[in-house]
């Protein structure tokens, strides 16, 4: 499938900022089932950018903007060719051993309610366990395609009837780790036919011995298909955040995100 992606992130500040420094994780990498045909990041004002990698192996773009800045928009556009896969990630260089992804973070802390629930899902075969877990999370929640709530932990999301893709992926990670499978958060894009206000998507990956990293999308209860584009991974959503920013100045910020993912 050839996917055309357009992703605009705009910040408006209530007072002019003297400086902005941001770290963007907005660049997908090639893998066996994903080829980046065209990709660019545009900023709507003077900015200096430099590319690098973070500890997880994600491509990063540092963005340095001198003030006064009252607003800024980061515009990402590109085309990615995806092929149908069984969810197994192939052809991606890993910086860290799978065992690292058994760790928890504040957002993926081992919440007792999640652990108690997950304990019943254990099967003899890890892959069956993980598919069962993915399906069970899918069935339990109604997906909320609104803007994710920054800083909401898996434990906090667990008690809700509706949860965002980010919440579901973090719940998956908490449960999978508890069942002994390394798991991580993936940020990226997904083409949803039925979605009114698309947002960047988030799902999960878990490590299965002899297979490698396998994707699981609790929003569908399935493994990611060719309508998914993988961009960044980390222990939780914050670690893989598309934009991590710091600003020098007073006042509040207003964030506006637009995403379009279409078949090209």
């Amino acid at each position: 499938m050839r996917l055309s992606i357009h992703h605009r992130t705009a910040y408006r500040f209530s007072a002019p900022q003297a400086r902005l420094v941001q770290m963007l994780r907005l660049t997908p990498q090639n893998s066996h089932d994903q080829t980046v045909a065209r990709w660019r990041i545009d900023i709507d004002r003077d900015a200096r950018m430099s590319e690098g990698r973070d500890g997880w192996g994600n491509v990063t773009t540092m963005l340095y903007v001198e003030g006064p800045v009252e607003e800024i928009a980061i515009e990402v556009s590109g085309e990615v060719l995806t092929s149908h896969s069984d969810g197994v990630i192939r052809g991606v260089a890993e910086m860290l051993p799978p065992g690292l992804y058994l760790r928890s973070t504040p957002a993926t802390a081992p919440d007792p309610a999640i652990l108690a629930w997950a304990a019943d899902l254990r099967q003899t075969d890890p892959l069956t366990t993980l598919h069962g877990l993915n399906g069970a999370i899918h069935q339990r929640f109604e997906v909320d395609h609104g803007r994710p709530v920054a800083g909401r932990s898996a434990g906090e999301a667990w008690s809700r009837a509706k949860a965002t893709p980010r919440d579901l992926a973090q719940i998956f990670a908490v449960a999978a780790r508890h069942l002994g499978q390394p798991a991580r958060y993936v940020s990226g894009y997904c083409r949803h036919a039925d979605q009114e206000h698309p947002t960047p998507h988030g799902w999960a990956e878990a490590w299965v011995e002899d297979l490698g990293w396998v994707g699981f999308d609790p929003c569908t209860g399935l493994s990611p298909q060719e309508d998914h584009v993988r961009v960044a991974v980390a222990l939780d959503a914050a670690g893989a955040a598309p934009v991590a920013g710091s600003r020098l100045g007073e006042g509040a910020e207003q964030l506006d995100v637009e995403v379009r993912v279409e078949e090209a």
Binding site: V21, G52, D54, G55, M62, P97, G99, R103, G239, S246
Partner: protein, 498 residues
């Protein structure tokens, strides 16, 4: 119940003073207690005036106190020091090689020398900086290795400090006080000088500057004047003649670190930071950090700045890793550790936990990620309630604890209420690593437990400090660090990011 402690000046009780230190013993005898006390007060008054204070944590008053100073020095003989230095160089070489490996290829895990989960599950192992190699491959530029002694030739490493070890200002200020107050000692003994420390540190800093920088700009980064070690930060910057900066003074632009000055921006090449990893860069570590410099890790990853000590070093001085240091030293240096560890039970291992729970009243139990004497149980002096509290904590979270025997720490005569009396001591020498190898500064920080019988030397728990004399062999010898210089073969000569 405890074995008789070895006194470093007087030797064993009931025997004459150690022959080599007979002159010092005679000095102690000849100088009236009232005179020693007068000098001690004079030194403490000077420290108070300088503002060498520290804050006591967990104290509601958050009082600023000076650390008590004891006038009687602790002395190392030339051959003792040589052996000690060789062991320290070996240990620090291994620490550097370990850090280079663990954030790079991780051979030590692949070969099964260390259990992988010990590293990968350890919060001190920072995945955020995996794959970054510091300029010239030097990680632990400044190490403070805490040692204890139980006999003439028995030194043990109590813990490694490879993050931002503090206390070097006490080494320097204590010496200055001793030179002023007890000049006769320096006439009678050939004491190696420590005042070259700032110059040596600056040389180390310059040596690890990114390649192609002819005259590197070095700075000391402090969390600010409210930090308990602020005096030391400003003291070091001052004595090296470099700027003391706070995060707000630094900006990163296009992966280069700049310092704001009244004359405009100045590029910064080497940062001696006295700020914890968590507070270095809010884009990578704690996002709520006000102390950090946004973009600093990007500049570091791009190879444009050296950070002293390197981010991520906490994995090398973690107490859970400590118990594997003999294996780590053997793995990277190819020889046995010449400075042994204190015997350590890893409570994460069920058998060790069982032993520890059965012997809580004899052991010292420590949190693997605690410091400063907090979260510690000293079995022989603990109350029933304390022991019960630790027992519950151990059962709940065994992986967070290690336990060690209570050692008969050596003593040094110390000015007590009723006159000179033996008090237990430990020792923190400072070890510097630059591109030209590892060197041990001939001196260090001796901490003394001022309460009779106490084994806890931490300043937050009523400890004091002493000057530490390293005696030189003879007139022909230069300072002993020449023998302990070494090249770091374990580190590759090329710098920059991997």
């Amino acid at each position: 119940m405890r074995a008789q402690a070895f006194d470093e000046i007087m030797g064993m009780a009931g025997r004459p003073p150690r022959a080599e230190l007979d002159a010092l013993a005679r000095w102690l005898e000849a100088t009236p207690a009232i005179e020693l006390r007068r000098r001690q007060h004079s030194a403490e008054a000077a420290f108070r005036q300088l503002g060498i204070t520290f804050a006591v944590y967990g104290d509601n008053e958050a009082s600023e106190r000076i650390i008590p100073f004891d006038i009687v020095p602790r002395v190392f003989l030339p051959d003792e020091w040589d052996r000690l230095s060789r062991g320290l160089v070996q240990r620090v070489e291994a620490i550097n090689a370990f850090l280079d490996d663990i954030y790079g290829e991780r051979r030590i895990l692949k070969e099964g020398v260390l259990p992988s989960d010990l590293i990968l599950g350890n919060p001190q192992f920072r995945p955020e900086i995996a794959g970054i190699r510091p300029p010239h491959g030097v990680w632990a530029h400044i190490c403070g290795i805490d040692l204890v002694r139980t006999g003439p030739d028995d030194f043990f490493v109590l813990e490694d400090n490879a993050r931002t070890p503090s206390g070097v200002s006490y080494m320097l200020e204590n010496r200055e006080a001793m030179l002023r107050l007890c000049p006769e000692l320096f006439r009678n003994f050939r004491v190696a000088a420590v005042d070259s420390y700032p110059d040596r540190l600056l040389e180390v800093m310059k040596s690890v500057a990114p390649r192609g920088v002819a005259t590197p700009t070095c700075v000391v980064l402090t969390p600010g004047h409210f930090n308990s070690a602020y005096y030391e930060h400003s003291f070091l910057a001052d004595s090296m003649g470099i700027e003391l900066v706070e995060a707000a003074d630094l900006v990163v632009d296009e992966d280069i670190v700049w310092m704001r000055t009244i004359a405009g921006r100045v590029k910064v090449d080497v940062i001696y930071r006295r700020v914890d990893d968590d507070f270095l860069d809010p884009l990578v570590f704690r996002p709520d950090s006000m102390l950090g410099v946004p973009g600093l890790i990007a500049a570091y990853a791009a190879g444009n700045v050296a950070i002293i000590n390197a981010p991520g070093n906490g994995i090398a001085d973690d107490k859970a890793i400590y118990s594997y240091m003999p294996e780590i030293v053997r793995y990277y240096t190819g020889s046995e550790a010449s400075l042994p560890n204190v015997e350590t039970w890893r409570c994460r291992e069920p058998e060790a936990l069982r032993y520890v729970l059965d012997h809580l009243d004899e052991l010292v139990v420590k949190l693997v990620d605690g410091s400063g004497g907090y979260g510690m149980l000293v079995g022989p002096t603990a109350s029933r309630e304390e022991i019960d509290r630790f027992r519950a904590a151990l059962v709940a979270e065994p992986h967070r604890y290690i336990a060690q025997p209570t050692l008969a720490l050596s003593t040094v005569p110390t000015m007590a209420e009723a006159g000179l009396a033996p008090r237990h001591v430990d020792f923190r020498p400072f070890v510097l690593t630059g591109t030209r190898g590892v060197q041990v500064v001939p001196g260090g920080l001796t901490r003394v437990a001022l309460r009779e019988g106490s084994l806890v030397v931490n300043s937050s728990q009523g400890g004091g400090t002493k000057d530490s004399f390293v005696l030189m062999a003879d007139a022909g010898a230069t300072q002993s660090q020449s023998q302990s210089q070494s090249q770091i073969q374990a580190l590759r000569p090329d710098g920059g990011a991997r």
